[in-house]
């Protein structure tokens, strides 16, 4: 118990780091994921191919390899950014592939008549997708996007091993200070549960408010 009370600020910093990583990477992943989903259903062949390659490659890349390549590789091209920015980039790009697939299958659940009606009104592809199909798809993709973002929060633990301040990394300091390892891990676990349960609660609210049973 006293592991937590004595190291309140250390745990606080770690939790804050995890939350920041999760929030920024989620925003990046959502943005990129929706754009890629748009690419994957676009009428232009090369964009479709680009979206497919992006999703297939990133989904089959081990996240540790991606972190390895981005955090240790990019600086060799003279691109020097803080490590947490690199971590957000790696996490965001990785997760965007899963978001893209969720959004794309959401687009597929929108009844064909909706798209056809929009087209018969003379809407362009961008209008059909942006004003008719995506808003409806948004309602069905809330649960899968929620579980993808929970996975993102859990994956952010990898960043700790690449010298980014986050929750899992706190165990090293605590270990050096001589605190009980088991208890420090229990509080780390509690921290992760807080983050994931918050996301899950948030998405439950979103689903109650916007979700639609089809």
């Amino acid at each position: 118990m006293d592991v937590l009370t004595h190291n309140w600020s250390l745990y606080g910093k770690g939790l804050l780091g995890t939350v920041e990583l999760t929030v920024f990477a989620s925003l990046l992943a959502l943005g990129l994921g929706v754009i890629m989903a748009g690419f994957r259903v676009a009428p232009v062949g090369s964009l479709r191919a680009f979206g497919t390659v992006w999703v297939t490659v990133l989904r089959n890349t081990p996240l540790t390899l991606l972190f390895f390549a981005v955090l240790l590789g990019l600086p060799r091209f003279g691109l020097v950014l803080p490590f947490d920015v690199f971590a957000i980039l790696a996490l965001g790009c990785y997760t965007s592939a899963f978001i893209c697939e969720a959004v794309r299958s959401g687009i597929n659940t929108v009844p064909v008549g909706q798209g056809e009606a929009a087209r018969s009104l003379g809407m362009t592809f961008a209008q059909t997708l942006g004003t008719v199909v995506l808003p409806q798809a948004f309602r069905t993709v809330i649960p899968p996007v929620g579980s993808t973002l929970i996975a993102l929060a859990k994956n952010s633990a990898i960043a700790g091993s690449f010298s980014v301040v986050e929750l899992l990394g706190t165990y090293k300091t605590l270990n050096e200070l001589g605190y009980s390892i088991i208890w420090s891990f229990i509080w780390i676990a509690v921290g992760y549960l807080i983050v994931t349960l918050t996301i899950s609660a948030l998405f439950n609210v979103l689903e109650k408010r916007w979700g639609v049973a089809r």
């Binding site: 259903v41 964009l47 089959n60 687009i107 649960p143 929970i150």
Partner: protein, 285 residues
């Protein structure tokens, strides 16, 4: 096919416009690629000195040994995870309330924890060998996810199947083993294999606890000053192999799923499995 629902069949002018967009998009993508290649050349990543180590037998053996260790961890973790998944699923489907509660508690806990936290806990707090820590961590996580997959599969088997089996006088165990499980496994096979892709990807976490796997071997080579720190060459060699293995397994899952959709024997379409994208409410990866 959404493609046709989202836009009209293009006329001659639109086709021209699309071709223009296509050319522009291709040029942009090619430009980015060319810039990346330019950067690679400019920073001397293709210099002979950085690539010669890959010709040495010792280095090749080091890489192969790493790959072997990765596959070893994956194989053990996959088998154990399947077994644990079966046990936990049986627990969750049990008629005895305490057993069901215990299984539910375990499944929910291990799914909610980041795998890496479990691996570190076993490695640091329980002082296990890196291989043991990696395998146990992967087994607990993937086993719990697989338990949910099995359970969903059993529930997805048509009601009439188990009603008929009970009507024939089978016991619960017989109904499970002879009627429900064979059908469930068949319909969930793509999802199960997709989960194994996740396990294969996650073996790379062993790198973080100094298990001597593929990435670890790569790092040893990359940090060698004698070869002028060939970091980028190492990434260029390792990633295609890693990504290729995962893609192969994903593709296999996809292929089985496609084959089953044509097979009239398979009941209860349980959603084609995409790697990491299981059922709603199920955290992927």
């Amino acid at each position: 096919m959404t493609g046709t629902a989202l836009y009209d069949v293009p006329g001659p002018r639109t086709r021209g416009r699309h071709r223009l967009y296509g050319v522009v998009a291709t040029l942009v993508i090619l430009a980015v690629l060319a810039w990346a290649v330019y950067l690679l050349i400019d920073t001397g990543q293709f210099s002979a000195r950085k690539w010669t180590p890959f010709e040495y037998q010792g280095i090749q053996e080091l890489l192969l040994r790493g790959l072997g260790n990765t596959l070893k961890a994956f194989a053990i973790a996959a088998v154990l995870a399947l077994a644990l998944g079966a046990v936990l699923a049986a627990g969750r489907l049990s008629w005895h309330r305490p057993v069901r509660w215990l299984a539910t508690l375990l499944v929910e806990f291990f799914r909610a924890m980041p795998v890496l936290v479990m691996i570190f806990f076993i490695y640091v707090a329980l002082r296990a060998e890196p291989l043991t820590a990696l395998v146990v961590g992967l087994t607990l996580y993937n086993g719990s996810v697989l338990a949910e997959v099995f359970r969903t599969g059993v529930h997805a088997v048509e009601r009439g199947q188990h009603e008929a089996a009970y009507a024939l006088g089978m016991r619960k165990t017989q109904v499970m083993t002879h009627v429900l499980v064979p059908q469930a496994v068949r319909s969930m096979l793509p999802t199960i294999i997709s989960q194994l892709v996740v396990a294969l990807k996650d073996t790379s976490l062993g790198f973080l606890i100094t298990y001597e796997e593929f990435l670890h071997a790569g790092r040893l080579i990359a940090s060698n000053l004698d070869y002028d720190l060939p970091f980028i060459p190492v990434v260029l060699v390792i990633s295609p192999i890693y990504i290729g293995m995962c893609m192969l397994l994903s593709w296999f899952a996809h292929w089985i799923g496609r084959r089953q959709r044509r097979n009239p024997k398979v009941e209860g379409e349980v959603g084609a499995a995409e790697p990491g994208n299981l059922m709603p409410g199920n955290p992927p990866l």
